[in-house]
Symmetry: C2
Subunit: 170 residues, 2 copies
């Protein structure tokens, strides 16, 4: 049995990669990545690592979440070290939780490596502190897109007096 790393690679700037993410990428035999990551990050991979693109490309079939899960599981069961790269943080949208549950159910060892979440870093790039004493005592990050129904209570949101971030990168 191999091992799987679900890795947050941050908001795009390759310098916002963590040391732990780099260590895991260097270890990996198989790397699954999508369009939300900075591809320069792949330069940390082993020379013979297998790189698998999982993003959408115009006019081509793209891998469903189920197909991605299957690829991760199949490679781990072959004894491979698998790195699944995700923009931002693996657990802030991006469906890292679904991959983790599948791995848990299959009895495969895995580790989730937190990353700099784009939902907060993007505000920084715009000069906006996510929180500010006396102005914003909370931050709420919501998904702005969903395959299913979005249940957003805008009246409740308006009463939080905090920062609201709508994340469109599902």
């Amino acid at each position: 049995m191999g091992k799987v790393y679900l890795i947050g690679v941050g908001p795009g700037d390759e310098e916002l990669l963590t040391l732990k993410a780099i260590r895991a990428i260097k270890e990996a035999d198989v790397i699954l990545y999508d369009k939300l990551i900075n591809v320069n990050i792949l330069n940390y991979s082993k020379e013979d690592a297998k790189l698998i693109f999982c993003g959408k490309e115009a006019g081509k079939h793209y891998k469903t979440q189920e197909e991605i899960n299957d690829l991760i599981v199949m490679n781990a069961k072959k004894g491979k070290i698998v790195a699944r790269l995700k923009g931002g943080d693996p657990y802030v949208f991006g469906r890292g939780g679904e991959e983790a549950i599948r791995l848990y159910n299959e009895g495969i060892e895995f580790e989730v490596i937190s990353g700099v979440t784009s939902a907060i870093a993007a505000l920084n790039y715009a000069g906006i502190p996510a929180t500010f004493r006396g102005v914003s005592q909370s931050i709420t990050i919501l998904t702005a897109k969903s395959e299913g129904e979005l249940k957003i209570d805008y009246e409740a949101l308006s009463k939080l007096n905090g920062t609201l971030v709508f994340d469109g990168t599902v």
Copy 2:
């Protein structure tokens, strides 16, 4: 005139430091840090860097936010590269915004380096995805402590059907 880096160093695990944070720490002439950071991070500093502890110690006077701001400004005006290290992300509580505004008003060049926010990474360590499709479509991070009045509308929060994180590290 020097330059100031407001740096998020993540939730404690020194491997969750970003490459950009390390670069800035290596550049710094003066480093201000407090009790929320992993002190091993200071090993990245230059041999002759001045390290200033800004945290609370039992029975001793500790620096107020105003004193910390003054120290940063004074050193930058001497032409020093100043690194202000903060646990997690500089803009998720931790008063990075107040330091940034002071620097802006003083006309001092500064850069805010996003970090892995402890408010989300702590959930990961406990095996809890911050969001999960069909279960939690939002995450709200609130401060659980404040010098001023906390205005939390619990009824509104209960209607979000999302993950709530109460951050006690002010």
